[in-house]
């Protein structure tokens, strides 16, 4: 596979991410911030976002595993996740967070589980 082909694949893939709503205009804005003074900007912010996301999802999972779920705590993590996902242009993640918060407000664990499964996650079985 030559470089030209790889480049076209990359462009097509990125375009599909926008088309399918995974990314929005905010990501385009971030790409514009990358220049010779800041050559690895996009890589750095995306890496930071993935690290943050992992921590936040782990925190949410721990809070949801408690015998008595503190929905305010879950909501606080989701709120932070929504903030960072909207700032990086992770459109679908942001929308899932918004829906999550609705369930937290209703203190609806079943609703939260459905959202997790719908987003492609899984619920660990508690013994």
């Amino acid at each position: 596979m030559d470089v030209g082909q790889l480049q076209r694949q990359f462009i097509d893939y990125t375009a599909s991410l926008f088309r399918e709503g995974f990314l929005d205009d905010q990501f385009t804005q971030l790409r514009k911030l990358q220049d010779e003074n800041n050559p690895d900007f996009v890589f750095e912010v995306v890496s930071l976002f993935f690290d943050d996301s992992e921590k936040l999802v782990n925190n949410m999972a721990k809070a949801l595993e408690q015998p008595i779920v503190e929905f305010e705590q879950v909501d606080a993590h989701v709120h932070q996740f929504k903030g960072s996902s909207s700032s990086i242009g992770a459109h679908r993640v942001k929308n899932v967070c918004a829906a999550f918060r609705g369930f937290c407000e209703q203190q609806n664990s079943d609703g939260l589980e459905q959202q997790i499964i719908a987003a492609g996650g899984s619920i660990p079985m508690v013994e």
Partner: protein, 143 residues
């Protein structure tokens, strides 16, 4: 509510000074989230401003107490140690007349109004983008 525009400020915060057009605009970004810090810093730097960071409201207040000055303060609302509302109130009571703009994830009218009432010139809902930055910097140059 997306933003609350410039105009009515409850505390005496009208800046009355000439901005040297040759000197870079100095900006203090007050934000505890490292990812958002990085994004907002890159955005403001791209617009040609000189950026300094503070991780919470207390760091921002301490900077001013130590004699620092900034043309513009961009502040988050929710931060540990001292939040955006408390920091804005303290800065205004210290006589800080710099433009203070809130940038928050909160989007309820009541929450934004409470933030504005602390002494902001304007408040925007995250994310900060080129359009919002342009409005803020134009407003700053017109004062």
């Amino acid at each position: 509510m997306e933003k609350m525009g410039f105009g009515t400020v409850t505390s005496t915060s009208k800046t009355m000074k000439i901005i040297d057009t040759e000197k870079k605009i100095s900006v203090l970004i007050v934000e505890d989230d490292l990812l958002i810090q990085k994004i907002h810093k890159a955005m403001m730097t791209k617009f040609g401003t000189e950026v300094q960071l503070a991780a919470n409201g207390k760091e921002a207040v301490d900077l001013f107490l130590s004699g620092a000055y900034f043309d513009l303060i961009l502040t988050d609302l929710e931060m540990p140690i001292m939040d955006g509302i408390e920091a804005t109130k303290q800065l205004r009571s210290m006589g800080v007349t710099s433009m203070i703009v809130g940038v928050t994830s909160r989007n309820q009218d009541s929450e934004i109004q409470a933030f504005m009432n602390a002494g902001l010139n304007a408040c925007y809902v995250k994310p900060l983008n080129a359009e919002k930055v342009t409005v803020v910097l134009n407003e700053l140059k017109n004062i």
